[in-house]
Symmetry: C2
Subunit: 119 residues, 2 copies
DNA sequence: CAACTCGTACGATAGACATCGTAGTACGGG
DNA sequence: CCCGTACTACGATGTCTATCGTACGAGTTG
């Protein structure tokens, strides 16, 4: 299935180059509750998750929109793998540009979730 | 008589209680370039600065707006001192709620400023 | 090929936000 | 007591954003 090629998908998605990632855009991307939740799950998983894995309380159109915001801000990397689109955190790039930032935000999110009664 | 009250000012500004500060609101407040710049200057100073100390490329109305966003997000504390309004970072509260977050953001901002040619 | 799944594109809409200008309020000093 | 300084309040405006619905495109599989 799909031979052994690296998912020779022809559909490519535009990602900002590492040097183009702006702190303000990253913070803005993370300031939305749904997007922050997505990032938390991606971080917890550590690997790649398909868009459909997330059960967000919005329509698919809106989900697409949020994933694009995350991708264009440089927070996640998206690649097509067959019919699914896989999402992964750009940990390497973010840690290189802003050391400790992602971990602090994730820790803060976890802390707040615990404080407010995580469910 | 406010006896030994600190600057017995009668004008009080509404601040969120420590437990009401939301991570998303903080991130959103910091995602604006002007507000991030203000926070950086406040952090660098360490103390309190008046609104008029900042030379932002916007009108005073807009400046007022940005300071209110920062205050309502719980990032800064504002108090009237005579005719001036002094602004200070809520380091204690932020560090307690989200340890390391503020420092990471400040470090990231400094890093990006250096990378993009700070002037 | 046809059907199905996954996700996109586009258009619409309501709300939020950054910005301004003008008019007004609070304080302190001459 | 009047004026200047510092900041606010309000209204207007253009832009951005989150959301939806419907129609479509790309892959996989029967």
């Amino acid at each position: 299935m799909t031979t052994a090629a690296p998912t020779g998908s022809s559909r490519d998605l535009p990602h900002p180059h590492r040097g183009e990632i702006r702190l303000e855009a990253v913070l803005h991307a993370l300031s939305d509750p749904l997007r922050l939740q997505v990032v938390r799950e991606l971080a917890a998983d550590g690997g790649e998750l398909s868009c459909s894995h997330f059960d967000l309380p919005v329509t698919k159109s809106t989900t697409t929109h949020h994933f694009r915001v995350l991708r264009e801000a440089g927070v996640i990397r998206q690649i097509y793998r067959g019919t699914a689109k896989m999402n992964g955190l750009r940990r390497d790039d973010l840690d290189d540009l802003f050391p400790g930032l992602l971990d602090s935000v994730l820790a803060a999110a976890a802390r707040q979730a615990a404080r407010l009664g995580n469910r």
